[in-house]
Symmetry: C2
Subunit: 228 residues, 2 copies
């Protein structure tokens, strides 16, 4: 797509990775390219992440005239129909940790497949040829739908199954959490408006895999977390 005008659907989850993705897209895209941020309300345990997604998108809407309003996609009951084994969609389960099991129950089977499928459908509708997702195979605990191999193959499937080619972009796919934060700081991404905790407390729990990965990254950089 180099040199070509792309409209982009961007998954904004309220987390750090997707905030940096939106920052990267806004920084690199020409002003006449439209950016369509989407948030999935999928019955997640940490539903408060929607407020963070909204804050990040508002920040960029104030700066970049072609960032569209955040689109909330409500599939609250879908995962409850499909999956009962994940602690993210079934809050009665304890949050497992990667040090204890090969694939912790914070994995939601099919989540990114379904998200990308919905984004492909929406991309088709609004004429977007790029789909951006903040997956990261470095710091996530072995989730198969965060791996580069999956993203590559899903991109081929989406292009084959829709009426015009679409590219999946993963701006932080090859980065460690510390590198992602460094990129975010360089781009002035509003990292204070991000929520990484798997739980929904007033403050981040500081114990789940996602909190730990974030804390370790800020420690590695010798920086305070602007969200705390």
């Amino acid at each position: 797509m180099a040199g070509q005008k792309s409209n982009t659907i961007v998954l904004v989850s309220g987390g750090l990775d997707s905030a940096v993705c939106l920052a990267a897209i806004c920084a690199s895209d020409p002003e006449d390219c439209k950016i369509f941020p989407v948030f999935f309300y999928y019955g997640q345990r940490n539903a408060k992440e929607c407020f963070y997604a909204d804050a990040v998108v508002q920040h960029y809407r104030d700066l970049h005239r072609n960032v569209q309003e955040l689109k909330y996609i409500h599939i609250r009951n879908l995962f409850r129909q499909l999956v009962v084994s994940s602690s993210i969609t079934n809050p009665s389960l304890p949050l497992e940790k990667k040090k204890d099991v090969a694939l912790p129950n914070t994995f939601v089977p099919g989540r990114n497949i379904i998200f990308l499928a919905c984004m492909a459908s929406y991309a088709e509708e609004v004429g977007a040829d790029r789909i951006c997702i903040g997956v990261n195979s470095v710091s996530t605990p072995g989730y198969p739908d965060c791996r580069a191999e999956f993203i590559f193959k899903m991109g081929l499937a989406i292009t084959a199954g829709t009426s015009f080619p679409k590219k999946i972009s993963t701006p932080v796919g090859h980065m460690s959490k510390a590198e992602t934060i460094k990129l975010g700081l360089k781009l002035n991404a509003p990292l204070k408006f991000t929520w990484s905790c798997h739980d929904n407390g007033k403050l981040p729990c500081g114990k789940c895999d996602s909190c730990e990965s974030r804390m370790e990254a800020f420690e590695e950089l010798g920086l305070p977390d602007p969200a705390l």
Copy 2:
């Protein structure tokens, strides 16, 4: 999967193709393989197809002890959030025909991508390594998500993005509608319990692409349609 035990998720839409797929799976599977039929209630114009799906599944549950109860997956509002341009999810639009346009508005962008993504998630949950869908590239009017190339690539993406390999099976993928009917008759599939019309009338409209394709196939075989 030859010679290996497979549990299968089967999309049963209420139409002819998926009824023949379920018949084929029931005929070929060993009795100890579980079959999980699913129906998507996605806000479709022809929502009465759910009764036909139910009837077909009940028929096979009476015959085959490992056919599980039909699982209704409710995503009624999802396509209304994503797509407004399809006459299947937006009944205020007229049903376009393949003789008039390259890609008629009966195409629902992303439908099979989303369906297969949901089936992959459910397969992961119930331990199914096969996902069966009655797509057909011969008689559908150019829908990109019915082509063999898409199905092949989506299968690779699903296997890469989930925790164990899954195969997508398309028992009627290479068949004309007449060949599908012939196979259904050979397998004693209850074709009387199928609904193909894109509309939701008391009787099939007889005018839409789907009605025409079905009528032409029965005419080609010189047989009456058992559903009429």
